[in-house]
């Protein structure tokens, strides 16, 4: 994830812009605002969160007012308006998950990562939070990790250990290309 401060200017790469263009083409002419949610998802996947300069750029790109982007980004819970860990573990906390151990799972993750809900671990790798129903109640408890939102189902402590360890490893092993 790029580390950018909230005031730093954002410049979208040509690849990102071409993805935006592809999305805008799905809607009738003049209805490009429809692309706002998919575009914000792409921005978050690229930068790890949605900063104000990024939102302003999106507004420019879609030819809408910046406030229209802020209104939308603050309405939907998937968009992070501040930097988070590289991996955000989002644990379902609603009814069916809750009755088969989601609450315990969140406590375990909190203890394992050593940070409270919404905070970032010191190495910048992890955050966690409880989210509402992920529509995977039959495989409860369940968590998801963006930006591809892979689901991890039928959680228990061993699976959480394995998941967190493998994510740590993946980051270490990833070759650094400059």
């Amino acid at each position: 994830m790029l580390k950018i401060s909230d005031t730093e200017e954002v410049i979208f790469s040509p690849e990102l812009i071409s993805k935006f263009n592809e999305i805008v083409a799905r809607y009738p002419e003049g209805k490009q605002k429809s692309a706002l949610l998919p575009v914000l998802h792409l921005v978050q996947a690229e930068y790890g969160w949605v900063s104000t300069p990024a939102m302003n750029k999106v507004a420019d790109y879609l030819d809408i007012k910046p406030i229209e982007v802020y209104e939308v980004a603050t309405f939907y819970t998937m968009f992070f308006l501040e930097p988070k860990g590289k991996y955000v573990l989002e644990v379902c906390r609603t009814g069916p998950c809750s009755i088969v151990g989601a609450d315990k799972m969140m406590k375990y993750i909190e203890q394992k990562l050593g940070v409270k809900e919404g905070e970032v671990t010191e190495d910048g790798l992890f955050s966690w939070r409880g989210v509402e129903c992920l529509a995977a109640c039959g495989m409860a408890p369940v968590l998801q990790i963006g930006p591809d939102y892979t689901y991890y189902e039928n959680l228990n402590e061993a699976k959480v250990d394995e998941l967190i360890d493998s994510l740590r490893l993946k980051t270490v092993e990833k070759p650094q290309i400059n």
Binding site: R26, P28, K31, K33, S34, A35, L36, L37, P38, L40, H41, L62, I64, E68, E71, V72, F75, Y76, T77, M78, F79, R93, T94, G95, P96, S98, I99, V100, V131, E132, C133, L134, A135, A136, C137, G138, M139, A140, Q144, G146, P147, D148, Y149, T150, Y151
Partner: protein, 455 residues
């Protein structure tokens, strides 16, 4: 074994690919409608089938289609509602993951019936993997000539796009979904006008659930009348039930409407009984929004007749002793579960998901959550219980969209049926935080009606 229409080939390896799906008879319905039927014929078949909206409201799909306005020079839209977020419901995710072409085929059939040339599948943003699966399936179908211009030489054009949501339960409400698809906050619109007159981009629009759209495929293949033969009375066809909670075999099951609740819960074909040898305490039969029922009332109606998995039988007894089939999100609670805690959990959900547009829901859902939190953690008062009922009444029916009702019903029904458990939380606050109330009398056989009348 009940008949399977949607999940017949679910275990065939590679059924998620176009090739295998086609080998198993896929896209026959598209061929049939484009070659031999008029759009009106398709609507007529769906009407004959008696198919009712599978998203929760149960409104007849064919009738909804026939309301669509057809003004000259205005495009019409079909939008598929894949914003599956109702706690307890995960059937659409299952369908989109494992047999995406069933939805694509249904979208083509339905778009043809409605005269839509651009259709959108709105999928909740958290289901990014399913969005990728659908996009791949669309590309495959397009490659095979089932999407795009002049499909199968019929002159019918259709482009299909997948739109991600952003994390908001309310976007499952059709007008909020339309707003969201227009790139706005998911605030439900004030109706009228209904989407059939003025929906997406102010054009006539039909919004249908994933399962409803997929169900049009077997309806076209076998005919509406054949489909209507399955099921019971006005509950025709098959329905996907998402089973979760304390069950031996949670998962998605396709049932013929009319199976008894008891069979669904306990037979090996379906849920296989309550997990860990426990006893059943309560069931939420149709997603978190429908009234919760204690074990005895979910298995039998007040007339001591077996309760069946149909729209009508589950609703038998009205709000006093019945519930609803809703979206088919079947959550089972064993004897160790706390109803107060569950009610608080659900009310937290609705509080979190209220869009905040209209006052009763915006303020009332938070108020209920706070009172329930207090009750659950042993700081409640007996008057809180009546307060909750009263606040729920202030919300119910007075809001712009059904989320207000959906927030009110679980609270009102939990108090209606489990009042003594709520009272126990107040009178035994110490105990209530360390142990659960248990099964109590919630699974006891229902008293005979005559006896009640006599006493």
């Amino acid at each position: 074994m009940g008949r399977k229409l949607l999940l017949e080939h679910i275990n065939v390896p590679g059924i998620n690919t176009f090739e295998v799906y086609r080998q198993k008879g896929g896209y026959r319905a598209v061929e049939k409608v484009l070659r031999a039927m008029s759009p009106e014929d398709v609507v007529e078949e769906v009407k004959k089938s008696g198919l009712r909206g599978r998203g929760g409201a149960g409104f007849p799909t064919g009738m909804k289609w026939s309301f669509l306005a057809k003004p000259e020079g205005k495009p019409r839209y079909l939008v598929c509602n894949g914003d599956e977020s109702e706690p307890g419901t995960f059937k659409d995710r299952y369908l989109m993951t494992h047999i995406p072409h069933a939805l694509i085929e249904g979208m083509i059939v339905s778009s043809f019936a409605l005269g839509a040339n651009t259709s959108y599948i709105y999928v909740r943003g958290e289901m990014m993997p399913q969005i990728r699966i659908l996009e791949k399936a669309i590309a495959e179908a397009k490659n095979a000539g089932f999407l795009g211009k002049n499909i199968l030489g019929s002159g019918f054009d259709l482009e299909l796009y997948v739109q991600p949501g952003g994390g908001a339960y309310i976007c499952g409400e059709e007008t909020a979904l339309i707003e969201s698809l227009e790139g706005k906050r998911g605030n439900p619109r004030i109706k009228p006008p209904f989407p059939a007159i003025s929906g997406l981009y102010n054009c006539p629009t039909v919004v249908n659930n994933v399962e409803s759209i997929a169900a049009t495929v077997p309806i076209i293949n076998d005919g509406g009348e054949e489909y209507a033969k399955i099921g019971l009375g006005r509950s025709t066809g098959t329905k996907l039930i998402s089973a979760s909670g304390n069950l031996n075999k949670p998962g998605v099951y396709e049932i013929e409407l009319g199976v008894s609740v008891e069979e669904f819960l306990y037979s090996e074909e379906y849920c296989g009984g309550i997990a860990n040898g426990k006893r059943l305490k309560a069931v939420v039969a149709g997603g978190s929004s429908v009234p919760i029922l204690p074990a005895n009332l979910i298995l039998k109606t007040v007339n001591n007749e077996p309760r069946l998995m149909t729209y009508e039988s589950l609703a038998d007894g009205g709000f006093a002793s019945g519930t609803m089939l809703g979206s088919g999100g079947f959550i089972a609670y064993d004897e160790d579960q706390c109803i107060v805690r569950n009610t608080w959990n659900f009310s937290r959900f609705y509080h979190h998901e209220s869009c905040g547009q209209c006052s009763p829901c915006r303020e009332g859902t938070g108020w209920m959550e706070k009172v329930l939190h207090r009750l659950e953690y042993g700081h409640g008062k007996l008057s809180d219980i009546d307060l909750l009922v009263d606040v729920s009444k202030k919300i119910e029916g007075n809001t712009i969209c059904p989320l207000g009702d959906a927030a009110a019903w679980p609270v009102a029904s939990a108090i209606r049926h489990f009042r003594d458990e709520f009272e126990w939380h107040v009178t035994n606050p110490q105990e209530a935080v360390s142990r659960n109330y248990g099964l109590a009398h919630y699974a006891d056989p229902l008293p005979k009606l005559e006896n009640v009348a006599a006493s």
